[in-house]
């Protein structure tokens, strides 16, 4: 089965609203990363957070390694946040396994 599951599959927000994206993984991971994929396809690394809580800008990631889950909180969403958010874990430290993503749409 899918080793990295993300929920929800899609999310519609009004500008200014907060959002919580979830990532659950079925195997132990020493790396956990969150990426943003633009509607055009390009990918940007947002956060590397194998455990604990990390912040960058309006993004906060919390990973509970023992429970094999991570969340990404987007605060005060903006229209430019629209796109797909991908969670990925390492595969024995040699490769990343990606989830199917959460597509976020923020309307003005």
């Amino acid at each position: 089965g899918q080793q990295v599951q993300q929920s929800p599959a899609s999310l519609v927000l009004q500008e200014g609203e907060n959002a919580e994206l979830q990532c659950n993984f079925s195997s132990t991971a020493t790396q956990l990363q969150w990426f943003y994929q633009s509607p055009g396809g390009s990918l940007v690394s947002l956060l590397s957070n194998p455990s604990g809580t990390k912040h960058t800008g309006r993004l906060t990631s919390t990973t509970v390694t023992k429970e094999r889950r991570s969340s990404l909180h987007i605060s005060s969403s903006q229209t430019t946040d629209s796109g797909t958010y991908l969670c990925a874990i390492d595969r024995g430290g040699r490769a990343l396994i990606f989830g199917t993503g959460t597509t976020v749409s923020v309307s003005p």
Binding site: Q33, S42, S45, S48
Partner: protein, 115 residues
Amino acid sequence: AQTIHQWPVAEIKAVGSPLSLGCTIKGKSSPNLYWYWQATGGTLQQLFYSITVGQVESVVQLNLSASRPKDDQFILSTEKLLLSHSGFYLCAWSLNWGANQDTQYFGPGTRLLVL
């Protein structure tokens, strides 16, 4: 500043024809390099990685091959394209192999349509 360039931007190819996609990283020496593939509407999958010139490891078998002829160049190729090769190909680089804080930087991607 580091730049990552992929070519071509997009390609339409016939089934059974050869393919060569390129990736060049400027401004960083000895980066780790990666190839990824995403079918339309599908999950991003890592295909290959390379830690050093001349050395490439396969992650997912898709009847594709990769080579690293120079420190700053990563090539993805096949002699015979399949319909299933259609999709979006991304190249990426990083510096800290396997480290928990490793960040990967991605190129703009190449869209491939096989007919």
